[in-house]
């Protein structure tokens, strides 16, 4: 590829500025500020478009905004490697998206499908890092060690900015984010742990959901059990009702029984009353108390009679005795006159006679009395007998018995009457009660063989308790079922989170895989570069360096220590060389890499790379450039230094 012509229609300070290049060595000369960098930037912009990125220095839009206008515009004629001459035009729009580019074949004006990659075989970055060579000091304003590093980078990776060690470190560190070298650290493992934890929560949440169905089934069982119990309860209630009825029947029965007993009693008493009534009628004579005299006993007459007889006898004896003694007294009295001593017996006999007479008088009184007693007794006895006969009783005992019987019957009847009146009262009461119970039981049926009502009440209470227990259980289950469980622990919510975690984990795995692949591949590439590319660069650069230094240094070998072998002085490190030599080494390596990458087909842009060279080496450098041009490579050399005329060079003064 060759650049034939530039037309800077409006770009930076230029307006319709045309620059023609030869296919060989071109030297663009201009003082500072004359626009060398602008021309270089224009070439880049023509190839790769107007950049709008970053700092002003590399931002075409900001840096090269035309002084008079708002649009960057220009064209560049190129001869491609296939020999086609094309015109490439670009005009900037309000933003990068609106930039316009056109390209056509100059020979036939047909549209040409331009791409920088096809025409110049590299991207913008590579273009700047390979085909554009600056002075080493300008390129890197750092220290020697930094320069060495860049040179090492250059030989090892063909790019001064690629630091193999740093590259490896960056990727390695990146992989460690995902999987630590040791231990189970890193995003992958962390996410795996989160996934495992979440899985457990999901499992638990699902179990909980399933348990709701189990619980619901349990409730169903409970409700059916409750239904059974309610049936039993209803049955018990009816039994209780029946039992209550039965009590009415029993009460009625007992009332009936009581009424019948009452009736019997009344009948019995009434019979007794009638019987007593008869007795009272028959014994009415004895209704009053017996006359007092009837109670006097029959007097004993026999003893009185015997006493009278004995008294009569005794009177006879006493009379006899008194007569006898009176005779004797008379005898003795007479005799005593005759015989005085006989007065004594006469006295005794007289006394005797007196006593006997007295005794006889006494007995006689007694007899009179006894006779009066007897008469009185006999009258008394006759009176009593008359009374007894009047009452028709044989004696007072019989009267007493009959009177007592009368009294008894009378008293009894009085009692019976009173009892009867209370019994008839009771009869009325019972009849009323019976009527009441009959009414109560009128529509009831009597069921026999029922449990005792208390047992039934107990049964009812037990059933009621069981039912309320079941109801409570059921209500509890209802509560559990309708309770809002933590909505954030719902398995579908967790599952959604899990899916995101799995995506995260899978992405991390992929990222790790990609990073590992990048790392392995980069290592392999670096190793290949070291074994294949680096020696070639060394070899080629050595030959250029030999020419540039006029053989002072004939061999260059750059390793990690940046050792350079010089012909006479043996191995010497870069730091031993002058800045000029370092510059020349840099140029040699850059050119060598370009050769290796592009051959000689692509133009080489050199930006005042020889400023540090002494005159001799400067001459050798231009000789080398002429040699490159002779070999067919287009060289565009930008400089602010006026060099002696160089044969065959196309000089462009800005």
């Amino acid at each position: 590829m060759k650049i034939k012509k530039l037309n800077l229609i409006s770009y930076g300070k230029f307006n319709n500025k045309e620059i023609n290049f030869s296919d060989g060595l071109n030297i663009v000369y201009g003082k500072n500020g004359s626009g060398k960098s602008t021309v270089m930037a224009f070439i880049r912009a023509m190839l790769y478009g107007f950049s709008g990125r970053g700092a002003v220095s590399i931002n075409d839009r900001k840096h090269y905004l035309p002084w008079g206008g708002q649009t960057l515009s220009g064209s560049m004629d190129i001869k491609t490697d296939e020999g086609k001459e094309i015109k490439l035009s670009r005009t900037s729009g309000k933003s990068q998206g609106f930039d316009k580019m056109s390209c056509f074949d100059i020979s036939n004006s047909e549209e040409y499908d331009f791409s920088a990659e096809n025409v110049i075989s590299c991207g913008e970055d590579a273009f700047l890092k390979t085909l554009c060579i600056k002075q080493l000091q300008t390129a890197f304003s750092g220290e020697d060690s930094e320069i060495s590093k860049k040179l090492i980078n250059l030989t090892q990776s063909a790019c001064e900015d690629i630091d193999t060690e740093k590259t490896i470190e960056i990727i390695t560190n990146y992989t460690k984010l995902f999987k630590a070298l040791r231990g189970d650290k890193g995003i992958i493992s962390d996410t795996e742990k989160e996934i495992a934890a979440l899985n457990e929560r999901i499992y638990a949440a699902k179990e909980k959901r399933l348990s709701a169905f189990t619980i619901a089934n349990k409730r169903k069982e409970i409700l059916s059990k409750k239904e059974d119990l309610e049936k039993k309860l209803a049955k018990t209630e009816s039994e209780i009702e029946n039992a209550k009825n039965a009590e009415l029947f029993i009460a009625l029965n007992s009332l009936l029984k009581e009424a019948s007993e009452n009736e019997n009693k009344i009948k019995e008493l009434y019979e007794k009353l009638q019987k007593n009534e008869k007795i009272l009628q028959s014994l009415s004579a004895y209704s009053e108390d017996a006359p007092q005299e009837m109670f006097t006993p029959h007097l004993e007459t026999a003893s009185i009679k015997k006493e009278k007889n004995e008294l009569i006898s005794k009177i006879k004896i006493a009379t006899l005795a008194a007569v006898t003694l009176a005779i004797l007294t008379a005898l003795f009295l007479i005799s005593g006159f005759f015989v005085p001593p006989l007065f004594a017996p006469c006295l005794v006999a007289a006394v005797g006679t007196f006593i006997s007479a007295a005794n006889r008088t006494n007995l006689k009184d007694k007899l009179h009395k006894s006779e009066a007693d007897l008469a009185r007794a006999e009258e008394h006895n006759s009176n009593i007998s008359a009374l007894l006969s009047k009452y028709g009783v044989s004696d007072i005992r019989e009267y007493a018995e009959k009177s007592a019987e009368f009294t008894r019957a009378k008293t009894e009847n009085e009692n019976i009457s009173s009892t009867l009146s209370s019994l008839s009262l009771k009869k009325e009461e019972l009849a009323a009660k019976i009527e009441e119970y009959k009414k109560k039981t009128e529509n009831l049926t009597y069921v026999e063989g029922l449990s005792d009502i208390d047992t039934l009440y107990n049964k009812r209470a037990t059933l009621g308790n069981e039912i309320s227990t079941l109801l409570a259980e059921s209500a509890h289950i209802e509560g559990v079922l309708s309770a809002d469980s933590d909505p954030d622990e719902a398995p579908e919510i967790l599952q959604a989170k899990l899916s995101e975690l799995i995506i995260k984990r899978d992405e991390a795995l992929e990222e790790y895989e990609a990073a590992t692949l990048a790392l392995d591949t980069i290592n392999a590439v670096f190793s290949e570069m070291r074994s294949d590319f680096t020696p070639l660069v060394n070899e080629k650069a050595s030959s250029y360096l030999k020419e540039l230094t006029g053989g002072d240094i004939d061999k260059i070998y750059i390793d990690k220590k940046f050792s350079v072998t010089a012909e006479k002085e043996g191995v010497k490190e870069l730091s031993y060389f002058s800045l000029g030599t370092a510059d020349q080494t840099y140029f040699a390596i850059r050119k060598a890499i370009c050769d290796l990458l592009f051959g000689k087909d692509k133009p080489l842009f050199i930006d005042d790379a020889f400023l540090q060279y002494d005159v001799e080496r400067e001459q050798k450098a231009f000789d080398l450039l002429k040699k490159f041009a002779d070999e067919g490579q287009q060289i565009i050399f930008f400089t602010c230094k006026e060099y002696p005329e160089i044969e065959g060079a196309n000089i462009i003064n800005l």
């Binding site: 609106f98 913008e124 063909a158 699902k206 089934n217 579908e492 895989e513 392999a524 670096f526």
Partner: protein
């Protein structure tokens, strides 16, 4: 004419993957509302039969509350014959509802064996097959009595699908059913004739995920022995919409919002960014989602933009890319490894 409502693939209690929790909860509620609309339609149309062609709920997540909800809803239409052919998400072996829960006397759940229920007064026989949970292969052929309107209710993959429980075109043609009410595919694809059979997927009544875009609904059928008139009834509570937008000329979030235009506030959107944005563009999915959060029910932004082709920028890079391409890893991994490698080679931290 017998009036039939055919729905399915309702997926009650599903996980709303990709939705934030608060939105997921709202969507779960709305799914129930969406189901109630079907029941309302059954009432409104005075339908004789409600066919539910599987995936009524998801075994993994179904709640007792949902079971109770279904029972209540079915009770509302107690005079309607309800048939369910369980699908792969509500397969019989995997849930308590079909096994132990009483959904109501008017509900028939088909077992994993082709069988039928006859509704004499309607002159209809409904054949059905419930998904067992294993990899089922169903023979849908039955000795049909042409006197009856023969309906097959099934959850299966019909041509051209074949992922779950596939039924071949031949089997459909030979089957002879008057109507095959199918579930499994979440979109109604019209009424298709296979031989004498009219076959239709009812689709899901509510689009839930980003691959269930557009109006969703169910089917209302008027069927006699001679004629089938089917109608798709829109039911979606919310519509899921997918918008692909080329953001090649967008630089900031505002550009994308402007380009999107007005969104329906009720809808769920998946916005797929595509194209090749400038390297100077800076917008991220999260900021776009945030900017749109009040403009629709929920917006998910998927970035499928192509990065500008990694330019060849040096021999190391080139060798690296070449080596990657030969690594045998998947295209995706190689692409990402290339990005990582190029960033590392430039000394930049990896993003």
């Amino acid at each position: 004419m017998v009036k039939i409502v055919h729905s399915g693939d309702i997926h009650l209690d599903c996980a709303y993957i990709g939705f934030p929790t608060d939105k997921a909860k709202i969507r779960a509620e709305e799914q129930l509302l969406s189901f109630q609309r079907i029941i309302s339609k059954v009432q409104e149309e005075k339908a004789d039969i409600l066919l539910l062609s599987g995936d009524l709920f998801e075994n993994d997540f179904v709640t007792y509350k949902t079971a109770a909800f279904l029972k209540r809803e079915f009770e509302k239409i107690s005079d309607v014959h309800i048939f369910i052919s369980p699908g792969n998400h509500d397969c019989i072996s995997g849930n308590e509802i079909y096994k132990n829960f009483d959904l109501g006397e008017n509900v028939t759940v088909f077992s994993p064996k082709l069988s039928y229920e006859e509704i004499a007064k309607l002159n209809v026989r409904v054949y059905g097959y419930g998904f067992s949970g294993k990899d089922d292969s169903i023979d849908i052929s039955a000795e049909l009595d042409d006197k009856y309107i023969n309906i097959l209710l099934i959850h299966a993959s019909l041509p051209p699908y074949s992922d779950t429980n596939p039924i071949s075109r031949d089997a459909l043609i030979k089957s002879g059913y008057d109507y095959i009410a199918a579930g499994h595919i979440h979109a109604h694809e019209g009424f298709i004739k296979y031989g004498s059979s009219t076959v239709a997927y009812c689709g899901t009544p509510e689009g839930r995920y980003f691959d269930e875009c557009g109006e969703k609904g169910f089917i209302v059928l008027d069927i006699s022995k001679d004629e089938i008139k089917g109608q798709f009834i829109k039911n979606s509570y919310r519509i899921t919409d997918k918008i692909e937008i080329d953001v090649s000329d967008c630089f900031v979030t505002g550009d994308i919002i402007e380009k999107l235009g007005t969104l329906n506030k009720n809808n769920v959107y998946e916005i797929v960014l595509c194209g090749t944005p400038s390297e100077n563009a800076f917008f991220e999915s999260a900021t776009i989602e945030n900017a749109l959060k009040d403009k629709a029910f929920f917006v998910k932004v998927k970035d499928k933009t192509e990065k500008r082709k990694a330019e060849f920028s040096g021999i190391t890079q080139q060798k690296f890319i070449d080596a990657l391409n030969k690594s045998g890893a998947s295209e995706k991994i190689i692409k990402r490894a290339a990005e990582i490698g190029i960033l590392a080679l430039s000394g930049e931290e990896i993003k």
